[in-house]
Amino acid sequence: MFKEIFRFELKYRKKRPATYIYFGIFFVMCLLAVTTDIVQIGGAAGQIKENAPFVIARMTVIMTLFLTLVTSAVMGVAVLRDFEHNTEAIMFSTPMGKFSYLMGRFWGSFAVLLFIGSGISIAFLIGDFWPGREAEKLLPFNFWSFIQPFLVFVVPNCFFTGALLFMSGTLSRKTIVIYTQGILLLVLYIASQTMLRNLEQKELAAMVDPFGLRAFAYETQYWTPAERNTQLVPFSGYVLYNRLIWMGAGILALAVTYFGFSFNVVRNALIRRKSTADNFRKVQSVSTTIPVVEPVIDTKARFRQLGKLTSLYFTSVVKEIPFIGIVIAGLLLLFLNAINMSELFGTSAYPTTYNVLSIIQGFNLFFLIIVVFYTGELVWRERSVKMNLIIDALPIVDFITLIAKFLGLLLVYIGLLLVLVLSGIVIQVAYGYFKFELPVYLSTLFTETLSFLLLYTFLSIFIQVMVNNKFIGYAVCVAFFILTGVLGELGLEHGLFQFGSADIGTYSDMNVYGHFLTPFTWFETYWFAFSVILFVVAVIFSVRGSESVMNIRWKAGKLRLNRSMVTLLLGAAVLFVSSGFFIYYNTNIINNFETSERVKEQQAAYEKKYKKYETLAQPRIVETNLKVDLYPYDRDFTAEGYYYLKNKTTQPIRDLHIQQSNDHQLTVAYLKFDRDAKVKEHDEDFRYYIYELVAPLQPGDSVKMSFKLSFVTRGFEEQNSNTNVVFNGTFFNNTSFFPALGYQDDYEIGDDDDRKEQDLEEKERMLGRNDARGRGMSLFGDDADHIRFEMTVSTSNDQIAIAPGYLQKEWQENDRRYFQYKMDAPMCNFYSVVSARYAVKRDKWNDVNLEIYYHPGHEYNLDRMMQGMKDALAYYSKNFSPFQFRQMRIMEFPRYASFAQSFANTVPFSEGIGFIARISDPDEDIDYPYYVTAHEVAHQWWGHQVMEANVKGNAMLSESMSQYSALMVMKHAFTPETIERYLKYELDNYLSGRATESKKEQPLELVERQNYIHYQKASLIFFALQDYIGEDSLNAAFRRYNEAWRFKDAPYPTSADLLGYIRQVTPDSLQSVIHDMFETITLFENKTLEAEYQELDSTHFEITLKVSAEKLRADSTGMETPVAINDWIDIGVYGKDEQKKDKLIYLQKHKITQKENTFTIRVDQRPRKAGIDPMHKLIDRHSSDNTKSVVRKP
């Protein structure tokens, strides 16, 4: 019997076009994904080949997420369709058994589902042989790398989701329950995503995600490009556990289905509904006559109709169980997200309203589901219960029904948004935070979110009406979301082409909504007008009555174009066109708009035209004296003043090459020299100008270059409008707007793929370490060595403006404030201009004035930052050299960027990374405001006292040394456990950073702008190094290096110079460590195999520890080769302290020279845990197996 039913199921599905359509959709999508850029599903990048097993596997897993949609349709209806088509009575009265019926249907449908799912792998496979694939981006064809992910992911995922949805469809006998179930799966998946942010929850996330994507990501997180190119997904570890768990869940679902399914037509509902007996069979004598009430259809009646319908539709949505389910699921997720609020190093931020809002934004996905789903439901409301003919014959004007549906949804949205505001407040209260900013809640949710909802509601009404099939309508809506990316690919990047493109921008406590509000309003107007047009079209074509053929709908619809509809349509069209023109005028006429493709072309053209001047000798700036007038509320400024340029070469210089900023808002009022010069090249396109001095500049001579720039903001820009010059919180530096000398290689395209497209050669990221030109310039470029600096900044009367140097004078004039700053010693050519409405906190460390300029209300961490400055200044001046300034300042800037940056005696510090950090438990949370402060203060030494050469390895001398310095300050301020936790994050970030390296991983000494190396890896390496050779020794090396190079002009030091000092303080026995750490990429694979102890007496315990240790060396792609081990490695034992916390009771370095080692260690406390390298000082990809619980010897 089973076989019969199975065969019937296959036969039935074989005839359904849907089967082939689903297969086709997946096949085509996947084929497009591998052969074009139209569909993007996490493909290859950089060194990873397009058909690398890793890439194929990842794309396959991601596609199974989408496959769930089909699973709902295929598996859910397997039994349900008997109920929907009322064939259940016929089916159930046949002599088949329940088991064969259910299993036949299940396995038959499952086979069909696998067929559909195979479209994914087949497409990838065929894609490998597709003409036009670039051979150099492909690996040789490997059949198994396509089949294995199918077996490991597609089959189990289909099985689990299939069984689950089969269960819900069969037991509930309702389509809607199936879809709700699908949403629950999605929630699990997203929930697992939010867990990832916390290092401790990664394993949990790997188990929770039913699709196995997290498990896959977990197992491959530290895979290097080489491994990604060669290795198959391991069917072990968390991938295996995950698969087993969810396959088990699938089997469970099948069992529940079997036992829960009743083979009766009339089922025993869980909640027995009282049947409505018709007790009035006997004819009553009804003598009353029907009262004659004449209907009146006037305007009032129309509004009454609208109100009635609106409330009917509203209640019909909110009463739906699935709706409530979706909302609850969304809220649950929201609260789950709130647990880990914008974490950095596992430390969360204060739940300010904008932080809470960004969590609330996580609900948008659910909103989207509600929009698509319930628009469909409402458009089909009457037809789905077959009441349409009654309703359609009522005297209701055609558009009222659709408007009522729209308004009903609007009410739903408003209700939900209010619920969200309430949830936000609940989250804030739960954190003990009581600064509710209701206006911020309301103005974000009721502008951006609500209009996003309404636009998509209009669109989805339009789609549902035009397509006139609910499910195809859903599919078209989903396709629309996927295809919005296509327009961008076709070069239609402008917001005028991107449906609903209005963006309210980033909210900042300092700058509120800033200047984003104006373009937001205009784009919103534009798309609303467009949506109203769609709506009118929908009204015309909406089906009323029994006609659904397009041309008859048009024939009937024409009649609906009465005067008010025509007025509405014309009004909307006029608004659409005129707002479109207005936007175009603003973004493209008075401002510049360039597609990303065009930008690349420009970059390439610049390089091709001017690269020849790159090595041309130019004078260097030796003095800068500027007057900058900021008009923050107009977002304008002018800058006027002069540079002194000195010929530091040995040859006369005749031609001066000036590169002005390419920002279209900037105009050069004048640029002149204090001697005769004529313009030799005047390139307005690239703003590259060559002046020929009549009398060449002799070696040692200087020329004064005066200029005036004005920066004027006109109208608004398409997107990416600058966030440097803003109402409150202006922050820019000299490289953004001020003239530079000679060819600027920063303008070049960096990405090799993009370069190839523009016919450019591949490019090294930095100059070689011994390159003479590179050594002749500092990290701040070749425009200057040290400069004399003076700047007068004026700003609006309510703001404070700050530039490097010491305040000489402050005054008011014409209702503006003026600040004159001057640096009394030469400094590097890197300076900032900052202005905002600040409050100031002042303090002193020795004779150094400490100041924090902050946004009032952001007082939370000022003391920590102040302490950070003090501790840092104290440590660095004691261990490295005296502080060169009399003042140190931190100033807050809006959270458009999340960094802090060190200028001479000046550190702009983002609102987003520290000012609102919430250090609730100093023992648990990593105090990153303190740490970031210490890092930035360290730059006053590493970067400002000693500028390094602009060659490979340079960041090791500024960023890495600052990381180390800050780490030492932290080490003395915090517990070792905190440092350990910090280093764990650094290790994780380093290992995942190298996994996504796009070009080549460099050893630390040759780092080329690779954050994961010069920050994260450097923290680990320098911490381990000071552990090996001693903090004092390493500091001594830093001190000598500083002494030798501080305040020097070219040539500048390189990492080789620092390593020389480090080698001096390193004993011979450890010299090889330097090679491992700095000159190569070295990894360890340390593991504790066995740990047992014997109790000799109550204070003597003997531990036998068996550990394995391997040492590996990786090349730039991550290809590893084992090398002989001969290293001193920590062996440690933990006991418990009074608070039952782990406490190190033994820690000693042991020389390890072979893979397997056994140690016998005596301690005086009962041991709990023991292992090799327990504090993770060495770089190890599996750090969790370093220690093991110690068991008592039997």
Binding site: T276, F280, V293, R304, K308, L389, P395, I396
Partner: protein, 296 residues
Amino acid sequence: MILDIRNLSKTYSNGVQALKDVSLTISQGMFGLLGPNGAGKSSLMRTIATLQEADSGSVTLGTIDVLKQKEEVRKVLGYLPQEFGLYPKIDAITLLDHLAVLKGIGNAKQRKELVETLLHKTNLWGARNKNLGGYSGGMKQRFGIAQALLANPKLIIVDEPTAGLDPAERNRFLNLLSELGENTIVILSTHIVDDVKELCTDMAIINKGEVLYKGNPLDAIADVNGKVWKKRITKSELEAHKQNHQVISERLISGKPEIRVFSTTQPDSSFEAVEADLEDVYFTHIFSTQKEAVAV
């Protein structure tokens, strides 16, 4: 007020011609539209109820152009579709009140009175607070008529209202219809001849989209009276009789076929004269079109 249908034709996109040049004039009172399943009754009624477009022809209700001024028609229309559902999660009184508002009855007191009366009239009063999802077919049908009677309609269209009702339900339903004022045009479509016989003053028989007969039921009977003959035969004789006579109907009586034939004279002595009824009229007309169809 008179409903005037002129030369109405309609062909569906699948090629089926639902209405062929239909012309009817319907005045106030009960009008019966008789025809087998698929005859085009519903198409005609939907067209009059503004729910379907016609390819050609015209329909006027008094001065209203039904095909264009749909809004005006809807204001005076009460319509009960052949097949319909109701919002399952709403009770009867709420939905009826809702529909009353939509029909333009703004005064809350009047509306309440009207809704309650109609619920009494349709015997739904006791079940007024029950969700419509739990209603039986008959109750649903009665609710359908209740909503069609809201707002004093001038034109009531009820499409096969008795299909699927048990005899008691059907009687009650017809009683309700018969109570409707004489000032109203009521069009009742059915394939059950008795419905028309019991209620209608005027009627039309249509099949395959064509009007075969229009007029008074009594006249119709008079037309065929004396031309219908019956005979009891054996099953084996059936085919022969069909070939030789114009057999309009056959039925089994105690397991033996009885045929009725149409003939102006007595075919032979084995045939017995019968008093013609409306059913004979109906079958006569239907039979003749079917015969033609076969001939073509």
